[in-house]
């Protein structure tokens, strides 16, 4: 993600710039202003984890705020080291996820790119992405003295058993009760259905945008997807999101008809795994582009729409237990390798670049095994880059440059 002004995001060379970027910045700026002025407008603010069920919040007219999204902004604004160090001074371990460190420091110092996030009225934490968020949200709940709802989604090894589905479903209804209590009014289920339909429409459009990368040359790269992902995470289930992605999809199709490539002279198509390195998106995109390589897809931005086959838009609430439990990092390696296989085939990728992200353990754990599986079973070269999504202290430029150059030399030879 970028800061609100998107100034650190690489969107290709000037003549290849994606025009929708400015609309996106406008929407995000408006969204953050709404969130910051929620109190004055009598609206509630809920902090929610990136993989959490936002649709009921939208249906209840609560403004969702994403600390992780904000963490990405911190990273893109290159403010990560400073804020992480502040959190470390407060006693948090440097091994803690840098989103958590940066956000906790922002909450206390009102620092960061937008002077801190608006205070929450309550918190919603879903552990389908990691265990870190549980403790992180407990800290936030104590700091602001606000209630916390935890949605516990079991890890999926092979398939989700009926009992597990029921277990999550029961919690979805508890979640709605919790929201009703916080907002002092009942859930309007017609509105909820509407939001569900809009959410699915948004997800389909987003997936369609990502799928334009199957075209050769690709009109979009993962570096663009990192930016344009913003709305599918934060404002899923709203009309504005649906409209935005319609516009973006049109633009991508137009680029295809005009044969505009995101990486001019695209020769190599690569897949990216894990979160972006927010403070180095431009450097990395230039680096790969200098080798005529385009990162055509990634496991991260497709994580939200990846569960589409599990959602029934007409029974949105009922299918939420499945869709929220089966997100990419809550599934086993056997399931992950299948997803990777699908993506490698679909986007016709020549190689896989994995970011071993010091912050995000659940995403990075087992990457070496996955790498082996990819090389043995899918027979494409892979590269592992060690870094961190926000904490720049873990980025060693010359080492990473050598690895990328060597990897590309191997691919070319």
């Amino acid at each position: 993600m970028s800061d609100v002004n998107g100034k650190n995001i690489d969107s290709g060379k000037d003549n290849h710039r994606i025009k929708s970027v400015s609309r996106m910045k406008e929407i995000l700026t408006g969204y953050y202003i709404d969130a910051k002025t929620a109190r004055e407008n009598g609206k509630k603010v809920a902090w929610i984890t990136s993989g959490g069920p936002v649709e009921p919040l939208i249906a209840m007219d609560v403004i969702p705020v994403y600390p992780e999204n904000h963490g990405a902004m911190v990273g893109a604004s290159k403010m990560g080291v400073d804020l992480c160090q502040k959190a470390e001074e407060m006693g948090y371990s440097s091994d803690l996820c840098s989103y958590a460190r940066a956000d906790i420091a922002c909450a206390v110092t009102q620092g960061g790119p937008i002077g801190g996030l608006p205070e929450p009225d309550f918190l919603v934490c879903c552990n389908n992405i990691c265990g870190t968020v549980l403790k992180w949200y407990e800290v936030v709940a104590r700091h602001y003295h606000v209630p916390l709802f935890i949605l516990d989604t079991p890890f999926i090894h092979r398939e989700m058993k009926k009992e597990a589905q029921q277990y999550v479903m029961d919690q979805i209804y508890e979640y709605i009760e919790f929201l009703e209590k916080q907002c002092g009014r009942k859930m309007d289920y017609d509105r909820m259905n509407e939001v569900g339909v809009l959410a699915v429409e948004g997800l389909r459009l987003w997936q369609a945008v990502l799928d334009t990368a199957t075209h050769k040359p690709s009109p979009i790269s993962a570096f663009d997807a990192f930016f344009h992902l913003g709305l599918i995470v934060t404002l899923r289930g709203t009309q504005v999101t649906v409209d935005y992605y319609k516009g973006l999809l049109d633009e991508m199709n137009e680029r295809i008809s005009n044969n505009i490539a995101m990486v001019p002279g695209e020769k190599y198509r690569l897949l990216w795994d894990n979160l972006p390195i927010w403070y180095r998106t431009r450097w990395l995109s230039d680096k790969f582009a200098s080798h005529n390589a385009c990162l055509v897809a990634d496991t991260y931005t497709s994580a939200w729409s990846g569960v589409l086959p599990l959602i029934d838009e007409n029974r949105f609430l009922e299918t939420m237990s499945l869709s929220y439990s089966n997100v990419y990092i809550n599934i086993s390696h056997d399931m992950m390798i299948n997803k990777l296989r699908e993506m490698i085939e679909k986007y016709d990728a020549d190689g896989l670049v994995m970011h071993s992200n010091r912050s995000c353990k659940p995403y990075s754990l087992g990457q070496y095994d996955l790498q082996k599986m990819v090389m043995d079973q899918l027979k494409i070269p892979t590269l592992i880059i060690e870094a961190d999504m926000v904490d720049e202290r873990h980025f060693a430029e010359s080492q990473i440059e050598t690895r990328i150059d060597a990897f590309m030399e191997t691919l070319k030879s």
Binding site: P381, H394, Q399, A406, T410
Partner: protein, 258 residues
């Protein structure tokens, strides 16, 4: 190698700069000097020095390829190629049977797997950590107040003392306390070598070892490391007389293909 043109390879490592000049697939000469703080100057000097030594003029060199960490600083080179590809090419040139290259450099170590045609299939490098590198050995030599050159032969007689820490700084203090406990230098150095060898063999296993193995880089001259590595890998390791300049050699070979 039928091209009669003269090519040069320059390898700017973190500690030393190396140059190799070739003609028609034959090595005309090699040279090594300290890199110092100015990588570009080191590259220029090492090549100039070598050219005057073998009686060639700079303009007789058709193509120059640079490699190593300072590869992009050598702006007079026609192309910069990473040390992974160059070490692969160098080892392949010396012995086309080689399928696996281990290079222990000043600030990083790498393992490279080659296919039947000498093409790099996979590689791994140590990350952001000096353990298992030439720098690690230097720090240890300093702790022992010894010359690194003397390490190799001395350790052959020793029984490895246990050095458990991976971190270079902690390992240094471990060495200091071993000295205080009266452990012999031979055993300490053998322990140091074993520690480096375990780091590298773990990395080698990660990408899958294929025989025969060649070790390159200045550290390959150290018989103690070589022995420790052979023990860890359970296989013999080939070392060529050009081990230290192998990266520059590969660069000169690749320059010939341009």
């Amino acid at each position: 190698m039928s091209d009669p043109k003269i090519t040069a390879g320059i390898d700017i490592g973190s500690i030393t700069a190396k140059a190799v000049v070739m003609r028609d697939g034959n090595i005309l000469g090699t040279r090594v000097r300290f890199t110092g703080y100015n990588a570009k100057k080191a590259g220029q000097d090492v090549l100039d020095g070598l050219l005057s030594e073998i009686g060639l003029m700079p303009n007789e060199v058709a193509t120059v390829v640079s490699t190593g960490y300072g590869r992009n600083a050598v702006d007079f080179a026609d192309k910069a190629i990473t040390e992974i590809t160059c070490h692969g090419a160098g080892a392949w040139f010396i012995n086309p049977e080689i399928r696996f290259v281990i290079d222990v450099g000043g600030q990083d170590s790498k393992v490279i797997r080659l296919d039947n045609n000498g093409k790099v299939v996979d590689f791994a490098m140590n990350d952001k950590c000096a353990a298992g590198t030439g720098r690690f050995l230097e720090v240890m030599a300093r702790a022992l107040e010894m010359d690194l050159e003397a390490f190799g032969d001395l350790s052959l007689a020793g029984t490895p003392a246990k050095i458990s820490s991976i971190c270079t700084v902690f390992a240094e203090s471990e060495v200091v306390s071993l000295i205080a406990k009266g452990e012999t230098r031979e055993n300490i150095i053998a322990g140091i070598h074993e520690s480096v060898a375990s780091r590298i063999s773990a990395m080698a296993r990660r990408i899958g070892i294929v025989l025969p193995i060649m070790m390159t880089g200045g550290v390959a001259k150290n018989k103690g490391i070589l022995q420790a590595m052979e023990k860890k890998l359970g296989a013999p390791i080939v070392v060529s007389g050009y081990a230290q300049v192998n990266g520059a050699l590969g660069a000169a070979i690749l320059a010939g293909r341009m």
